[in-house]
């Protein structure tokens, strides 16, 4: 413990006062600004989830009216997708780590980075206004013509919020792409980059190419609603399936925006937690790109029952099978990395193991849904809900928590309390499976989604699910408490508490504002663990 010292001047104390934070250009401070905002939205979205699960304890619509219930699941979806999941890892961990991992002093465009946060907050404000003044009831998917014509809720306000926040995503992606291309340290070739950077790069490609389409789509919905044009409303001469094509062209790749960063985190955790180089680095790196690219070719699997042609359904179905392949490559390679590794049971690794198992289940059920025949029956049931929560919560959120725990000592200079953290991880795992496992069953049995009431024979599964949700909620609260506690009371962590490899572990915790006093020159992969066959060290 004698070597641990926090540098006297680091990015946290370099400049005090609100102005130094709100006008910062430091990517690490901006990451923290995002951390506070997305956490707030997470709890808002969680509150809506709690209300949903409470209502679903009983078959009747007795806690809230159906109209209110519609608003609850809509706001839950909008908040969780656009204001938590999509920004989470990229805007917090990505912003913090990408410059450091490429050996740079900051991202390519620091002021645009700050602007992206303000845009995010502005979009969030619009959505909050929509929530507070009565909510939206269209579902987070805003399907026309309900959203354009029939709904009496605050569609335009929420739509504007989503539109604005989309630009935050675009600017973040733009920054990452330029940084990775143009600001790598000398010697840091693409194949020496950490896999987290590869996954952030692939995520950024999706942000750039997909987000503009949902932006224009939401804008068209707002314009149609406001001016009574007939772009999507068939009564006015429009085509509602066109809306779905345009919406899902982004929203399917968006789910890869949510999962790819978590996969990048898991790649890092699995190496650090086993003291081994990843098995098949190049395959894992390319699989991130493959997921990003193929992910743009599959959106029609959301339109199987919409009136889309059968032929197009076949095409999208087979393409959806292809997109599973690179994800499978990752799972195999992580598993192969674990094999004969020095397995760690620290909290970040617990989340990594949870991710690998739960993402596999979620991903495999995705294949069920890619199968046209099966999807016809389970579309719009709880089977779908279970599928995407397995990948987004069991996958993405576990990846996020694993990453937060792993890099917490780097970000704050303090170590979180390990025993409580492991306990919380276990609670989250149990709570999660109890919440969403029954939903596969009840969905397959026929319970439709987005209804406040359901047939009485489904009640037992819903009660189990709500019990699980309560446990899950408690599980999420615990890290909030100890993370905050750790900033003030925990022991100092030192620059490399995990004994891990990587440029971020070679600099102090917390890092100085400029990250590197001198630009590093990289001579080998930044994650070579000893013993390494490639480097030949005994």
């Amino acid at each position: 413990m004698d070597t641990i010292a926090t540098p006297t001047v680091n990015y946290l104390n370099n400049g005090h006062g609100l102005k130094s934070w709100l006008l910062t250009k430091d990517h690490k401070r901006i990451a923290l600004l995002y951390l506070f905002s997305i956490t707030a939205f997470f709890f808002l979205g969680g509150f809506f989830a709690l209300m949903i699960r409470l209502e679903l304890l009983t078959p009747a619509s007795d806690l809230v009216q159906p109209d209110t219930y519609n608003k609850l699941f809509t706001m839950h979806g909008i908040v969780m997708v656009f204001f938590f999941l999509i920004p989470s890892i990229p805007a917090v961990l990505g912003n913090f780590l990408v410059p450091i991992m490429v050996g740079a002093k900051d991202l390519a465009f620091p002021r645009i980075n700050l602007l992206s946060w303000y845009i995010y907050v502005l979009g969030g404000l619009f959505t909050l206004v929509a929530a507070v003044t009565g909510g939206v009831d269209t579902g987070w998917t805003f399907y026309a013509p309900y959203s354009t014509s029939a709904s009496n809720s605050h569609v335009i306000t929420a739509g504007v919020g989503v539109f604005i926040t989309g630009f935050s995503s675009i600017l973040t992606g733009l920054n990452f792409i330029v940084t990775v291309h143009r600001m790598r340290a000398p010697g840091l070739t693409w194949f020496r980059l950490p896999l987290f950077v590869w996954s952030m790069y692939a995520t950024s490609l999706i942000m750039i190419l997909g987000t503009p389409v949902i932006a224009i789509t939401v804008a068209l919905v707002a314009v149609e609603r406001g001016l009574h044009l007939g772009i999507f409303d068939p009564a006015l001469g429009g085509d509602p399936v066109l809306f779905q094509h345009l919406f899902w062209f982004y929203s399917h790749p968006a789910v890869y925006i949510m999962i790819l960063p978590a996969m990048g985190v898991v790649s890092e955790l699995v190496q650090a937690g086993t003291r081994k180089n990843i098995f098949g680095y190049a395959f894992v790196a390319f699989s991130s790109l493959a997921i990003a690219i193929i992910g743009f070719l599959v959106w029609g699997h959301h339109l199987f029952v919409s009136g889309q042609s059968t032929y197009a359904g076949l095409v999208f179905s087979i393409l959806s099978f292809f997109v599973a392949i690179p994800s499978a490559v990752k799972v195999f390679n992580w598993t192969a990395t674990l094999y004969k590794g020095s397995i760690s049971w620290d909290t970040p690794m617990l989340y990594a193991y949870g991710f690998i198992g739960l993402f596999t289940i979620g991903g495999l059920t995705g294949l069920f849904l890619a199968t046209l025949g099966m999807d016809i029956h389970v579309h719009d049931t709880y089977f779908i809900i279970a599928h995407f929560h397995y990948v987004m919560v069991g996958g993405a959120i576990m990846g996020y928590l694993g990453g937060m725990h792993y890099w917490w000592p780097k970000i704050t200079g303090r170590m979180y309390p390990e025993s409580i953290a492991r306990f919380a991880a276990l609670i989250i795992f149990v709570g999660f499976n109890l919440t969403f496992g029954p939903q596969f069953i009840v969905g397959y049995l026929g319970m439709p989604r987005r209804y406040a009431m359901y047939a009485p024979e489904f009640q037992i599964w819903n009660v189990l699910s709500t019990a699980g949700a309560t446990i899950l909620g408690v599980g999420y609260l615990i890290p909030m408490v100890y993370f905050i506690w750790s900033v003030f009371r925990a022991p100092l962590a030192g620059s490399n508490p995990w004994g891990a490899r990587g440029l971020e572990w070679e600099i102090p915790s917390p890092p100085p504002t400029e990250n590197f006093v001198v630009t590093p020159v990289v001579t080998e992969g930044t994650h070579q663990y000893a013993p390494s066959r490639e480097v030949g060290i005994a």
Binding site: V213, P234, F296, L297, L303, S309, T310, Y311
Partner: protein, 108 residues
């Protein structure tokens, strides 16, 4: 990026080509060439766009990365158009399914 400095005459030459292209496309539109009308129009538009991109936007002398980025944007658009239109163009192909092309204009 000091890069390549093109002579002014090159820019003027491209400008002339663009003007000619515009007049050509106007003329071609006056004649009924059937399905060729669309093809000619798109060809001229794409040529004009390519001239602007390569010469006015300097992609001709830029790094390969720049031109991959520029090309990807347009390529992605083709994905959007292609995969969406393959739905609309194949409506009613499978027997027993929704017959005919969806005509959105069924309103009043």
């Amino acid at each position: 990026m000091s890069g390549h400095v093109a002579p002014k005459s090159m820019y003027v030459g491209i400008w002339i080509a663009l003007v000619i292209g515009t007049l050509l496309t106007l003329l071609a539109a006056e004649v009924d060439l059937g399905v060729l009308n669309n093809i000619v129009m798109l060809l001229i538009a794409c040529t004009k766009a390519l001239l602007v991109i390569l010469f006015f936007m300097h992609v001709r002398w830029s790094s390969r990365l720049t031109w991959v980025v520029a090309a990807s944007g347009f390529f992605w658009l083709l994905i959007l158009f292609g995969l969406t239109m393959q739905d609309y163009l194949t409506r009613g192909w499978v027997e027993g399914t929704a017959a005919g092309v969806i005509t959105p204009f069924t309103g009043r």
